[in-house]
């Protein structure tokens, strides 16, 4: 006997307030055998976690914050009954809504913070040897429109131009070996919708030394507070090369990046948790000299 949770939507992605429709599919069901009621639960939580990578010193500083359940919806999808055919589907429908006193957050997998939504089923068949193991819980992706937007903030993009010159570089220690350069560019906004791309452009107006690579780095900053202590750690989500080699002066090179699903979410301040994002633009010269320009960005849904 096989027992499996299935969702209608193959993307398994739902917005807040939507109904998650699916069914519990039973195959090779033993004819005439009784089953107890089928109950389902959608559970969402936010928790701090110790990543494999952070074992060691970080482990100790990491504040012990208990997970917060932000969503728990349960329902009985089927009453007690008897299997009458070998293949049977029990449909269900659960609405995505927050627990009282909590609000919905988006699914996110970070290094130290994780926000997950899961549908679990409990289904008991007790007769004889035909004991069903509980079906594997199924993860869903939850989107929460409007999330990330702070009150008073405009959705409309505000272009963020930048110029990098030796004088604007905040690292005077290596000033001696700095090449002459002038780099211009802009980010098309300060805030980005998650299902649109990150965009902008960069131009090497001038550079006396050849460029080896220009890279765009997406950084997340995860913070966890516990009482007076706090923890804040930036980690890389992904890094994309936008220029490979000594590009032509004056060429408008696009900065383009898709926000990876699951590893990004709207900029989040929630109770003791904080998830923020930044872009690092780094220009690496052939001689090994590297310039990095940092841009905080807001991610919104």
């Amino acid at each position: 006997m096989k027992c499996e949770l299935q969702l209608e939507r193959s993307s398994r992605t739902y917005s807040s307030g939507e109904e998650i429709k699916g069914s519990l599919l039973v195959e090779n069901a033993p004819n005439g055998v009784h089953y107890n009621s089928l109950s389902l639960v959608l559970e969402g939580y936010i928790k701090g976690q110790v990543s494999m990578k952070s074992v060691g010193a970080l482990d100790e500083i990491l504040p012990q914050v208990p997970p917060i359940i932000i969503c728990r919806q349960s329902q009985i999808a089927a009453e007690r009954g008897t299997f009458s055919s070998p293949k049977i589907a029990f449909p269900f429908s659960i609405r995505v809504v927050a627990q009282e006193g909590q609000s919905l957050l988006e699914t996110y997998t970070g290094v130290y913070i994780s926000i997950q939504y899961e549908i679990k089923a409990s289904f008991n068949v007790t007769e004889g040897k035909n004991k069903i193991s509980t079906p594997v819980p199924i993860k869903v992706m939850i989107h929460v429109p409007g999330l990330g937007l702070i009150e008073g903030m405009s959705r409309s993009p505000q272009v963020q131009p930048f110029t990098i010159t030796p004088t604007s570089v905040a690292n005077p220690a290596r000033l001696v070996s700095l090449p002459e350069f002038r780099i211009e560019g802009e980010l098309s906004s300060t805030l980005f919708e998650l299902d649109r791309e990150f965009s902008g452009w960069i131009v090497i107006v001038e550079a006396t030394k050849p460029i080896k690579s220009i890279d765009l780095q997406l950084i997340r900053i995860e913070s966890i507070f516990s009482g007076d202590t706090g923890f804040k750690e930036p980690t890389e989500v992904q890094s994309l090369q936008v220029a490979d080699g000594d590009v032509r002066k004056g060429a408008k090179i696009p900065l383009y990046m898709l926000f990876p699903r699951q590893f990004t979410c709207p900029t989040t301040f929630y109770k003791k948790f904080k998830i923020e994002f930044e872009i690092n633009l780094s220009i690496l010269f052939f001689d090994g000299y590297q310039l990095t320009k940092n841009f905080p960005i807001y991610l919104i849904r």
């Binding site: 193959s10 994309l240 220029a243 590009v247 696009p254 590893f263």
Partner: protein
Amino acid sequence: MDITSWALRKRNYALETSKAQIKLSAASSHPLLGGSAKAIVSDMSDPLNFLRKEKKRVVVEEYAPLPKDDPVEYWNSLSSITSKKFASTEAFKIYSDADDDPKPVPQTFSRLELLEKDNKKKGNEISYLSHKEFLAHINLLTKEMEQAWNQNDRVKTLKLAIQSTKMLRDVQTQTYYPAVFMSITEMLDHFGYLVYTRLIAIAFEGKKDVVNFDSNEVNEQSKETALNWLLKISCIRELQPRLYVEMSLIKNYKFLWDDEHSKVLVRISQQIRGIGSPVMACYAGMYLAKQVISLGIGDKSFLIILLEDLCQCLIGILPEHYELCTPALSWIFYCTALSSSKDELFKLIERLQGVIEYRGDILRIIIEEYPTEYILPNVNYFLDLISGLKNASDRMEISGALAKAYLNSSIDENSMKIINRLWIEISENGKWNIKVYLKASMNFLQLFFKKFGIQQIDILLKDILSHLREDKMKKDWTSHVSEIMNVLISNARDLSMLISLEQFLPLLDEVTPQKKTELCNKIIDTFAREEVKVAISNPLMIHALFTITRVVHDSLDGAESNPDLIARVSNLICKFVRNLHFGNNLEQHLTVLTEARSSFIQFDEVTETLVNSVLDISMKAHKLVSGKHNFKTHAFLKACVSYAHITIPSIDDNMKQFKLFILASQVALVNNLIGEAESLIKTAIARIPDLAEDDELPQVEDCLHTLIGQLVLLPDNPGSSSGFFLPAHGLINALTSLNKRFERLKLRLFISILWYLSSQTQLKLPLKIFRVDSNDKLMSGNANFKEEQLTMMSTVIEELLNFVTECGQMKTIDDAGFEVLLKFYMVLQKVYVCLDESQVSILLKRIYDICLGLRGEAKVKMLRVV
């Protein structure tokens, strides 16, 4: 045998012949009537036609235009040309991923990132691959990828695709880049195909042949899958692998939307700006343009932007790097040209104006890739552009391209003027860069071949030659000259006209000796293949052919080790000799043959052909004067025969010598050169011991019979003091002194001699050569002659009678011996009588009995008939 006095039966050959003749009447119908060969027989079943078909020129047109009607064909030919041009057998450097066993990867985190880190680690190993090894490697990768795909291992499939694009990034030897690009994009295409067909299967429930669909016709699952692939590749760290893999999956977007492709294409074309190497950027652009074509997108405005970007990059780069970019540029311009309007072309040129000033060659590519209907009507515009260019090479290249544009259009007076102007452009600038000048003139040569006469070609060649001579530096342009020669040879409709051009041979002298031999071989080969019936008579042509043939001939000096080559070349020379034709000017023909004899001394076959030719013209002379030679033609004939007599001994092969002596003597006799004929016959007879020595005598026995037949007509000198039948005496002596193993052969020839002797004192011979008096006329009533004839007869018969006696003691006899008996019997019976008839009868009876005893009734029945 004691018969001592033989006599001959009187023959009346003429009467015998006339009585025997069958009456013929005109036939109104006959078996071969009905339909000409063409109507009945297809080309295939007519062997002669078939032969001619096969011999048709199969010249690889190295300079032929590429097939531009179909993008796929054009791509394929670009691909093969590019691979050939830029990939030598020399090994090139490439980073390798030697050990790439898939490692267990944690589920949650980006597996790709991890894979990339793996690759980075190994990136330091450099391996050297030859192009062949590289192709094998790519093949292996493709197979591995296909295997992974079939096992549903999508991560590995993608990983392998990415890995291939990394090789593109890691080619350390730039000249290999185009060839590597071609192979890798082929693998990527395959990857794209695998993904796309899977998506189609998901979207249309297993159907595979859906071609046209809207994004709203496909199900959510296929959309989701298509998007997932795109998201997966969007996080490939390195720029080029990310771009290439995305381009290979460009069709995935068809599942997401219908009209936003151009947004993606514009973005990718702009991202290509991030590729610092102009060569790599051009090829990335080339792949993008190809993917656009396969998507069937009409709007190609972004390609224009792409081109602008790329061209900007090309301004300052090294010429050898630019050269690497040209196939990519050609392709992108070609794609832009598809479904482009004339206005768009001019807008494009305007936008590229700034670049063209520095890289005029881009204008050349534009002219080559855009339809000539856009170019030629506005040719003045292009002429203005050319005159605006500072670089002489660019001016020449573009002029050459414009000339090429005229290849497929009709030429009027105005275009003549323009072509002239273009040529002047090239001619005047040639001194600045002779290689470019030569390249551009190839276009003109092709145009001139197609549109103008051979004389105009000569004018071009003259100009080329004067440029070459003015070039004091003698830079390395010989390979270009040989390319020009190749163009000439491949394009010429009439090769003989071409080589007769005044400038042809001098130009040929400008290439390296090795190339020269190669080209001469090619010319002669082409000549031979054409199955030339064209008479070779023009003195210039003959001189040219001589020069060319001699180059080939001399190149074989000491090449004994290659009999195939020698056979081929000597064959070609023979063909050339045979095709010489001077109409009635036979003296000139003889002069040329004399020259040929001194030029081509190496090969027996050639010498043989020369002798055959000289005999052939002798007979032509005979025909011309209808056998009535005058003083002049007589002298000519003497010269011909003496040519033959002198030349034949230089043939190595004794047998060939012998046969040619016989043939020459025949020709001499027909032409009333009796002394010469006799002398040739004597020379031939003198060869008999040598032939016997070489055991070649049986092979020439036929010719010896012919020789005896020839003696029938050869007159003796009535006033001779040294007697008559001198050649026959010589022959008999030669045969008698032969080794015993030639006994049968000797006897057979003796029987022929008996036939010959029997004819010599008849009133009238059965044969007559016009204006040649044979012995029937000369020796009529000459008692000495008759006496000598009978003496000789007796000698010969004596020999044969000895044989009969021998046979009488034998129990069995060989076939040849038996045949001699039969023939001897019959010649006696038919022709000879004895003063005492009964003695002959007794003799015949005796031979008959011996024959009967040896072989039985059935084998001798024919002897009884008479």
